[in-house]
């Protein structure tokens, strides 16, 4: 992209747009969409229920996030193909269908979480879910079918406001600095069910299945060349940093306000109170607005990503910008996800915060499969040539797979056998 800046007849606004887009690169886009409703809820619960004690996990998985995203980026740049394409071509149809089924489950639960996020917003204002959620779903459907990307961009920018508020709020809420440093650096892993469950959710909301597919197809679509690997790597690094910076401050905000007062998060209104030090009474409104935006962005990005990955693997239709009649499967998948999730969320007395975190934990359980496939592909000499993984990257990747598998089993064990 860089070379465009030096060309002669580039007008002012184009340069400005390019600067904006290169700063708000895939890093920030994934980062922001990563902190969707499920993300905000999980980080809030982590901070409110466990104080600063989960910060070390966040710092550890930031490295893992960078390593896995970088692998996805490299795979995309070198092969010029999406993850779904590669799985189909290298492992055959059956394995591809198996992987894609897992992806579908993970993504579906994420979409469900985001629609649940909408329901929580309805709860904050005491609007009946039965009215608010369906309207919202219809709006999203229209946005996707019409492809109104200006609208998506605006949503995207508004959710950023919420995240900046969290960062400022985290600073002025006077966190307990010694405890914060201790929590960030000293690993503790109490064997109680709730801690492990929340930790699993924390992992699954930071590293996501859809994020892995998204980062790769983003770099493929952008047509980044091999010689720009270095700057693409920086972009990924920046994105990982930004995602977790926001997460870090959400946790701190909740720890410094809710945890110290022993407030437990039972619904979205509780979570909103964490923004009190910065916004006072207004916290509720900003949180609701931010959550709504985060949900909208999450549903758009994830449902489209799912449909794209599915059609990519099945190879039936490859056009994302086609109309309904040209790509019926593509739109049917999105429609199905939206419709079913809306119905599910409308079940009365559904505990929203639980759905939000459980969906993220499910993500963690599926991630090892995806990373395993990713690792197989990226160490394929025929495919990657000189760009296969180095020993350190391989080590971190295997460590990621191992630890995620372990914590998933631990969570299942504690949930079902130690209840």
């Amino acid at each position: 992209m860089k070379r465009l800046f030096t060309s002669r007849n580039f007008s002012y606004w184009k340069i400005r747009l390019l600067v904006f887009l290169s700063v708000v690169g895939p890093g920030i886009i994934t980062g922001t969409a990563d902190n969707d409703a499920g993300g905000v809820a999980t980080y809030s619960v982590a901070g409110a229920h466990f104080g600063y004690s989960m910060l070390w996990i966040l710092i550890l998985i930031t490295f893992m996030l960078y390593v896995t995203q970088e692998m996805g980026m490299r795979l995309g740049v070198v092969t010029g193909k999406g993850l779904g394409d590669l799985i189909r071509e290298k492992f055959g149809l059956r394995s591809a269908v198996f992987v894609i089924a897992l992806v579908f489950i993970a993504n579906f639960s994420n979409i469900l979480a985001d629609v649940a996020g909408v329901a929580s917003v309805a709860d904050i204002y005491h609007i009946p879910r039965l009215i608010f959620v369906p309207i919202f779903s219809i709006v999203i459907w229209l946005v996707i079918v019409r492809g109104s990307f200006n609208f998506v961009q605006n949503i995207f920018l508004t959710s950023c406001i919420l995240f900046f508020c969290y960062i400022i709020n985290g600073i002025i809420s006077r966190p307990d600095i010694p405890l914060m440093i201790k929590g960030s650096l000293v690993p503790v892993l109490p064997m109680n069910r709730e801690y492990i469950f929340t930790a699993t959710a924390l992992i699954g909301t930071t590293l996501t299945v859809w994020g892995q597919f998204f980062v790769q197809s983003y770099f493929v679509d952008k047509g980044i060349e091999k010689k720009h690997l270095r700057s693409a790597r920086l972009d990924v690094l920046f994105g990982a940093f930004w995602t977790d910076l926001v997460a870090y401050f959400i946790i701190i905000s909740c720890a410094a306000t809710l945890w110290v007062n022993h407030v437990r998060i039972e619904n979205a209104l509780d979570a909103a109170m964490a923004l009190g030090p910065l916004l006072g009474e207004f916290a509720k409104h900003l949180f609701a607005w931010g959550l709504l935006n985060a949900s909208l962005l999450g549903v758009c990005v994830i449902s489209m990503g799912t449909a794209y990955a599915l059609t990519e693997v099945l190879g039936t239709e490859r056009k994302v910008n086609a109309s309904y009649s040209e790509a019926p499967l593509f739109y049917s998948i999105i429609g199905f996800c939206l419709f079913t999730c809306t119905l599910l969320v409308l079940i009365p007395n559904l505990p929203m915060i639980f759905i939000l975190t459980a969906s993220q934990a499910l993500n963690t359980m599926i991630l090892p499969f995806i990373f395993f496939v990713l690792l197989k592909l990226i160490n394929d000499k025929k495919l990657m040539g000189m760009h296969t993984n180095g020993p350190i990257t391989n080590f971190i990747a295997w460590l990621t797979i191992g630890s995620f598998t372990l914590i998933s089993f631990l969570m299942l064990y504690l949930t079902f056998f130690k209840a």
Partner: protein, 420 residues
């Protein structure tokens, strides 16, 4: 002579191979074809031998008597069959063709192979079609019967989507398909569509197989960014040849988007007059009339007759993009009128140009914004509009295709741009 009816490749994989005494030899692992013909011939089967240590061996098609879905029988007995070891460089259907992408030349789209259809032609079993539909996927997952049953309840059918092997072109490195026509024969807009769908490193490859003229037209259909990247990556000689075939305004658009060193180099190697025109155009801002216009147009002096003009057109055979309008200049090179091709043809040969031309010329200045240009062109239903300076001297023309994107309704515009 082998017994065979129509079959899909996936139905052959895993089938038991027996000898004439019904003794098991092994199971089919893959199917070997030879390339070079329109419908590639199946030359052998890669078989995983039954036994303690599974080994892969090739059984040539000549040894085989019968091919069916239940079993495959050889002519001889087990110990008398000639088997060879698999060689490097053989093309295997399951490994190299199925699940890969091909270009469907009739539909002008890039699509994935779900299954392959084999059939007997004369004496040989040949690969005749690619299954690219849902049905192929279901068949390979072993779900075809069940789903057909379910769908049958609603008296529907899962449609077959087969593309004849003579209508596809492979994207992998081996020449898997020898189509009756190639990408090169497609309409440039379709070529552009295909190029925008395949992965980046394949783009330049396909592009370099095109004739310069097709390449130039395809380039015009592509998104500007994509076009610039392509030109920047081709070798200098090929890109010069392609640019030579393009109207100057498009050349300027592309050169404005590629690295300055590269565009400077290309400009230096271009014909001097053309390079000067391009440089002139590069001075104007992209989104103004000046940035859109081309400097290739046809002018005629005021004092000729209709017949003289037609004669002169024939003699000089101008290669300008638009010849539907002829621009009439006076002795001081100022624009005084426009002559349409239609008017020129239907007017009596001995009439003076000044008598048949349109004198009320609609012109625009080079600084006019592209949206305004579009609205002027669409308001007066023009094919092209002259751009003039303050002294009414002609600088160039903006043709309707350059502002098409602002005239078309948003939907078709989006389709056009995204689809390439």
């Amino acid at each position: 002579m082998v017994l065979f009816s129509e079959m899909f490749a996936s139905e052959l994989i895993g089938v038991r191979v027996v000898d004439r005494l019904q003794e098991t030899i092994g199971h089919v692992k893959d199917i070997i074809i030879t390339l070079g013909e329109t419908f590639p011939r199946i030359t052998g089967l890669l078989v995983t031998l039954a036994g303690d240590k599974p080994e892969n061996k090739v059984i040539l098609i000549g040894e085989i008597d019968l091919v069916g879905k239940q079993f495959i029988a050889t002519q001889g007995t087990k110990d008398r069959i000639a088997m060879t070891s698999p060689r490097e460089g053989e093309v295997l259907l399951l490994r190299d063709v199925i699940d890969q992408q091909i270009v469907d030349l009739d539909g002008a789209r890039v699509i994935r192979v779900n299954d392959l259809k084999l059939a007997k032609m004369d004496q040989d079993i040949r690969l005749i079609a690619a299954d690219v539909g849902m049905r192929g996927i279901l068949r390979r997952l072993g779900l075809e019967k069940i789903i057909n049953l379910v769908v049958g309840l609603f008296s529907r059918k899962v449609p077959d989507q087969l593309i004849g092997w003579d209508h596809v072109q492979g994207l992998s490195d081996g020449k898997v398909a020898v189509p009756s026509k190639t990408i090169t024969d497609l309409h440039p807009a379709d070529v552009a569509h295909i190029i925008s769908q395949v992965q980046i490193n394949k783009r330049a490859e396909i592009f370099s197989t095109l004739s310069d003229k097709t390449a130039a037209e395809a380039l015009h259909e592509l998104e500007p960014m994509l076009a610039a990247v392509l030109i920047a990556n081709l070798d200098i000689k090929k890109s010069l040849n392609i640019l030579e075939k393009m109207p100057v305004d498009e050349v300027a658009d592309i050169l404005g988007d590629i690295p300055p060193e590269r565009s400077e180099e290309l400009l230096r190697l271009m014909r001097v007059r053309r390079a000067a025109q391009v440089r002139e155009l590069l001075k104007h801002k992209d989104e103004t009339a000046g940035g859109l216009m081309t400097t290739e147009f046809i002018t005629i002096p005021l004092n000729l007759t209709v017949e003289q003009v037609i004669l002169r057109l024939r003699e000089t055979a101008p290669d300008a993009e638009t010849i539907y309008y002829l621009y009439v200049l006076d002795e001081t090179e100022r624009l005084v009128g426009i002559l349409t091709l239609r008017k020129l043809i239907i007017s009596p040969p001995d009439k003076e140009i000044a008598d048949v031309m349109i004198k009320e010329v609609i012109t625009i200045s080079p600084e006019m914004n592209q949206r305004e240009v579009a609205s002027v062109i669409s308001k007066y239903n023009l094919l092209a509009i002259p751009v003039v300076d303050a002294e009414n001297k002609m600088l160039g023309i903006v043709t309707v295709d350059d502002v098409m994107d602002f005239i078309l309704p948003p939907i078709s515009r989006r389709k056009r741009q995204k689809l390439g």
